[in-house]
């Protein structure tokens, strides 16, 4: 099944894709940290049942994913594939996950909060993602009473989500802003509007591969519509600034970059061991190569899906081609080699 992050839109333009996450708690139960396993099991059953009843009306079909393996490879892999927001997972053994086959819609139960509904979209379509999240939210609400107060909105275990319980974000590829040392400036600017701009992947630099996430840091005092509108507006500003910085390169710079881009491609295509950070760096160059029309990318140059797929946990859990005791870097190099399309010379 085609995954949302394999969509062409994820590998074009500044905006890779977006995610909306809605946190909800059910009234009549304590929050997760105070729940006993029976209550958690009961809650999970109720939520799953509600979802089953609403599936056809929603036009969404969910598969139950097993997260009982606490040691975490499948968990880390799901986080790496953006199916679960990492801070939402928690430590409960009664955690439950429903996921659509394209992995665009997920419902997490018994994470750090009772329910977390997440909808992902390729490209700049956060409003549609939000609409979908709303529909799932209302559908569940028809069966489950939410903990809510007029004053503080949706009540959550963590005060960081109280209010709308909504987190909305875009993933951005910002190589030119970063090279011009402008991402720090933007990050400070954004704080004034209640947004953060941080590296998405964890590695030795602050934003490996120049992949950033812009996300709201507040859930009170602003409506969902206002929040989404702010996210769109701020993202537009950053995108056009990135485009502008790119277009302002001079000829020399462009030549140097073209060379670097081909070198990055060569390393990805022929290296036998690739560590995580360097892979991201090279993939970032190759993605820029597409934006800069250094080569034709209309084919299957799905760089973002390679970024997702080459993470250690995703590699291990996904492709069933690992050999006993094989180094992750070797496996990563083989994965990239296999999937990186050839160039028309």
């Amino acid at each position: 099944m085609h995954k949302w992050y394999e969509d062409r839109e994820c590998s074009e333009g500044v905006v890779i894709g977006g995610q909306v996450c809605l946190v909800r708690n059910i009234s009549g139960y304590s929050f997760e940290s105070r729940m006993d396993p029976q209550d958690q099991e009961e809650l999970r059953e109720k939520v799953f049942e509600a979802v089953r009843e609403e599936e056809s009306r929603l036009g969404l079909y969910f598969e139950e994913r097993d997260l009982s393996d606490l040691s975490g490879c499948s968990r880390t892999s799901l986080i790496g594939r953006l199916a679960i927001p990492p801070l939402m997972l928690g430590t409960s053994e009664k955690v439950g996950l429903l996921l659509t086959p394209d992995e665009a819609v997920s419902i997490l139960v018994n994470g750090t909060e009772h329910i977390c509904i997440q909808v992902s979209c390729p490209g700049k379509h956060i409003s549609q993602a939000y609409e979908t999240a709303q529909r799932v939210d209302d559908a569940l609400n028809a069966h489950l009473a939410y903990a809510f107060s007029d004053r503080y909105g949706y009540l959550t275990a963590s005060p960081l989500y109280t209010g709308t319980g909504l987190m909305a974000s875009y993933l951005l590829h910002l190589p030119y802003l970063e090279r011009s040392s402008l991402t720090g400036t933007y990050s400070k600017e954004l704080a004034r509007f209640g947004f953060t701009l941080r590296g998405h992947f964890h590695g030795s630099s602050s934003a490996p591969g120049q992949i950033y996430r812009i996300k709201n840091s507040r859930t009170l005092g602003m409506s969902e519509i206002e929040l989404i509108a702010s996210l769109e507006r701020l993202t537009d500003q950053i995108s056009s600034s990135e485009e502008k910085t790119r277009s302002e390169r001079d000829k020399d710079q462009e030549e140097i970059e073209t060379d670097q881009t081909y070198r990055a491609y060569g390393l990805l295509k022929y290296a036998r061991e690739l560590d995580f950070d360097e892979t991201l760096e090279y993939l970032s160059y190759v993605r820029s190569g597409c934006q800069n029309h250094i080569w034709d990318c209309s084919g299957d140059m799905d760089i973002f899906s390679l970024m997702i797929g080459m993470q250690d946990a995703v590699l291990i859990s996904g492709h069933g081609e690992e050999e006993e005791g094989e180094k992750a870097d070797v496996r990563r190099a083989r994965y990239i080699r296999r999937l990186l399309p050839g160039l028309e010379a």
Partner: protein, 208 residues
């Protein structure tokens, strides 16, 4: 995710470190973060770990007290420390330590500090968004003024207007006391709910 500094412990917090004018985000474990914090580094990002509680407690313990212009007397401190959420049992200390609520009613139990708390964390204390399409049981949070008016009450924390929450596990005495308080306060919806609980309780076993 392992700590970027010692590469041994699990990272619980992300910080932004500025060296030579360049920003760098580091994911650190509790120990390494504590060392960094003492060097005056800003903590930016707070995953839902108890570390968040530490930081919030630090912020609130100092700042909240300063902002309430009145001097904090020891009796008041003692009273706060004795507050326990009647529904889930979360204590004031735990709330300060973990920085998370134990149940929806905690919002009521700790309402006396919520506005300040939310303004620190969220820069607002008023929901402006969606309401549930199908409303369930909502939590009515008493006004701060109301909560404050209870300050002079006995130190048990039970008599104050904060602890009006009861549930199916409450004893008949608790329920009746809560009913009286609800009626006194003209909170008839609550009263009706509690009355139903008493009926259910009496009908069920006749215990207590």
């Amino acid at each position: 995710m392992l700590c970027d500094r010692c590469h041994e412990n699990e990272a619980v917090v992300s910080i932004v470190e500025i060296t030579d004018g360049k920003e760098q985000t580091l994911n650190l474990c509790r120990e390494c973060a504590a060392k960094s914090a003492s060097k005056g580094i800003t903590v930016m990002h707070l995953p839902g770990s108890s570390f968040l509680g530490d930081i919030l407690a630090g912020m609130l313990g100092l700042d909240a007290a300063e902002e309430e212009k009145e001097p904090v007397d020891r009796g008041e401190d003692l009273k706060k420390n004795n507050i326990v959420c009647p529904t889930c049992g979360r204590t004031y200390d735990e709330f300060m330590k973990y920085g998370t609520f134990g149940c929806p009613d905690c919002y009521k139990t700790f309402s006396f500090l919520l506005d300040g708390y939310m303004k620190k964390v969220q820069e607002s204390s008023q929901h402006a968004g969606k309401h549930p399409r199908f409303s369930g049981e909502t939590v009515h949070i008493p006004d701060i003024e109301l909560a404050d008016s209870g300050k002079g009450d006995k130190s048990s924390g039970q008599e104050g207007p904060i602890a009006i929450t009861v549930d199916r596990d409450s004893s008949i005495e608790e329920l009746k006391a809560a009913l009286k308080r609800a009626v006194d306060r003209e909170e008839y919806e609550d009263a009706a709910r509690i009355r139903d609980m008493i009926r259910a309780c009496e009908g069920e076993t006749g215990n207590a």
